[in-house]
Amino acid sequence: MAERIAIVGVGQTHHKSKRPDVTTAELCAEAVEDALEDAQMTMKEIDNIVMGSFEVADGYYSPDKWIIPEIGAVGKSGFELQNVGTTGGVVAAASFNIAATGLFDAVLCLAWQKMDEAAGAFGRGGGGANEYWTGQFPMSPITNFARRTYAYMDRSGCTEEHIAMVRVKQDQCAMKNEYAQLRLGLTLEKVMNDVLLAWPIRRLHMCPTTAGAAACIVCPEAKAKKVTNKPVWVEDWLTCHQGGALTMAEDPTSSTLRYACDVVYKRHGITDPKKEIQAWEVYEPASPAELRWIEEVGICEDYTAWKLFEQNKVGIDKEIPFNPSGGVTATNPIGATPVVRLVEAALQVRGDAGEHQIPGNIERALATGYGGQGENVIMLLRKSL
């Protein structure tokens, strides 16, 4: 890196399924104000803004143009990015890249989604797939995860009950996070008896539709040290996409999450991620995905993660603190979701996560973004330099 960089402020909205009281731009302004307040900065000090949402899901074009005036950023440098589900991850990666050039003092990373305003099924489902191949199938996130979960159960011995355990764990975490959307007080029985969408996926297993925004402020080292005494250093990041062909995602050796983790771990000499990374905020769009992701980030062997849930080892104050915020099944403003992960991971590193703070020293945290076609973005945060 040309410059070492740190996150000096984070912000997010209270995520809800509907926000009829605000426009998309006003929703963004809430997250930006929250981040600026957290960093004790004003918009005057920000000189570059990167932003994005999965705009097809919201049904508009070029929203950055009318959000910029609303957040008081006319005259600033910046641009909008979008990589479908991983949008927030790519926006964060762009803010890291721009801050690391050292050309700017402070970069604002902003992502949002206001799903109460549009019928997003087209963009989130078949519309996101290749029009000639996978787009020809009635493939949506629901059927996609049903297929993959079935394959996982078949290979691993995991049962429906284990998947329900994952969902209950996620809800227990969300209950402690005031920003989370779904805080339901679930029991195994409730999950097991929930409406079936596509076996084995029940409604509670899928991420909800959310109106929400998240923001963070990234500065090069010199500025970061001036702004805050609790900088969260961005150790590394990697966007890794494979694009379109769903079949490729089936082979565990070609998983982009595994690949991206391998690259980043190697660059920083991480050999035992379970020990060396103390907090995980990983984008699981459906509860069973969490099982596969736990394996792919290197916490346990392939097809054994369900046993960790059986042994009650996953949770905020347990051996594996995976998604202490409640994760994506509780809150999913698609485009913003990876930035929500980043915000939550940064709060964990700072020790500011409140009720869902993981006990003990959090030296490293890993946040990810995920896209339905197998895209992944890895963001590795660190407390000390």
């Binding site: 143009k65 990015l81 801050a99 050039t101 050309l103």
Partner: protein
């Protein structure tokens, strides 16, 4: 800029009204494989580190068509990002990826099939939901308002605007990639039907146009190894203006002035008219070349009309502007800004054929996005 970013390869398609036989992925394939062939770089270790696409989902049909890079072009399991702005912004971001030391080589691609969509429809959804969309404003009517305000405030004549079109179409005759090259006269332009007062049909970019372009960027050390004719990015700048048309004086383009100053400061350019050898600007409408020339500092505010009258922006003039024919000769939106950079690179390498500006050493490329020029991006280049 402390370090330089090199452009080591460029490619573009022929721009045509309808490339109906080409799927978006195939459109991308042609230009990306072209630049990869020029450099010998492949999608593997030590090859291309990252890809940045520029496109709009609403313009290309399928959500996230940039993903064709994955399995049509072969950019599999690597850094892959996409900007939703004009292609110039992808160049801006690609350069940032290299300046941050995160990547050594970045492949950029911009693609658009305007023939697949209704340009007015998506430009209408580009207006804010509450105030401007409800009165039916789209980018054409926004440009009409801007043209009216600009020409009225500064006394720019219809003839001066028409001259821009005549120049563009004439220059396009030297450009084998251009779509429209004809010997229009000022009279022809002024006699064409009214599109959006005071903009006439011939004064607007032809619609639809399909096409794509690609670029490979490399860090200074790597660029020198890849090619003996690297073109350097010496300065980059972007700037947002107000969205609400009533909140800015449409006769001026303050955001462009700021973006240009940001780029010129990095490149240490103080007198662009004298120091630059050519300019490629994004003008969707005739008046824009005049107004953008002011923002880019080629003349002072309100002097755009005099600038075209002086002949300085003609081929052979002091600062030939759009030797390629520019957008008025038919370049799709989104591709336009990146294609301006492609044209500048060809000029600075001395490979621009009949449209070559002799001895070109420094150039500026300009891209714009949003209604009435809301987001500008300026890139200065040097050989």
């Amino acid at each position: 800029m402390a370090r330089r970013v090199g452009i080591v390869a460029v490619a573009q398609t022929k721009f045509e009204e309808r490339k109906s036989t080409l799927h978006t992925g195939e459109l991308m394939y042609d230009v990306t494989r072209d630049v990869m062939g020029q450099t010998g770089l492949e999608f593997k270790e030590g090859g291309i580190d990252s890809t940045v696409a520029a496109s709009y989902d609403l313009l290309s049909g399928p959500a996230g068509a940039y993903m064709f890079l994955g399995y049509v072009v072969g950019a599999y399991q690597r850094e892959d990002e996409r900007v939703l702005e004009d292609g110039s912004t992808a160049v801006y971001y690609g350069a940032m990826q290299i300046l941050s030391d995160h990547c050594d080589t970045v492949l950029l691609v911009a693609y658009t099939k305007e023939s697949a969509v209704d340009k007015n429809m998506y430009e209408w959804v580009g207006m804010d939901q509450i105030y401007q969309r409800r009165v039916g404003l789209d980018f054409v009517s926004a440009a009409g308002l801007q043209a009216m305000r600009y020409t009225t405030k500064y006394g720019i004549t219809p003839e001066q605007c028409a001259k821009v079109v005549v120049k563009s179409r004439k220059n396009a005759g030297n450009n084998p990639f251009a779509m429209c090259c004809d010997n229009l006269t000022v009279d022809d332009v002024l006699r064409s039907a009214m599109l959006c007062d005071p903009i006439r049909v011939q004064e607007a970019k032809p619609v639809p146009v399909d096409g794509a372009c690609a670029i490979i960027l490399a860090s200074e050390e790597k660029a020198k190894k890849i090619t003996d004719k690297p073109v350097w990015i010496t300065g980059i700048g972007t700037c947002y203006d107000h969205h609400e048309l009533g909140w800015r004086d449409l006769a001026d383009c303050d955001a462009l002035t700021t973006a240009a100053q940001r780029a010129y400061k990095m490149a240490k350019i103080t007198n662009p008219l004298k120091e630059l050898d050519l300019a490629e600007v994004s003008e969707q409408y005739s008046y824009q070349e005049l107004l953008w020339s002011e923002g880019l500092g080629f003349c002072s505010k309100g002097e755009g009309g005099k600038l075209i009258d002086s002949g300085k922006t003609e081929m052979g003039g002091e600062l030939p502007t759009n030797p390629s024919g520019g957008m008025l000769s038919g370049i799709p939106v989104c591709v336009a800004g990146m294609q301006r950079v492609v044209e500048c690179v060809l000029q600075l390498r001395g490979e621009a054929g009949a449209r070559q500006v002799s001895g070109a050493k420094k150039a500026v490329a300009h891209g714009v996005d949003g209604p009435a020029g809301q987001l500008h991006c300026v890139i200065t280049l040097e050989n």
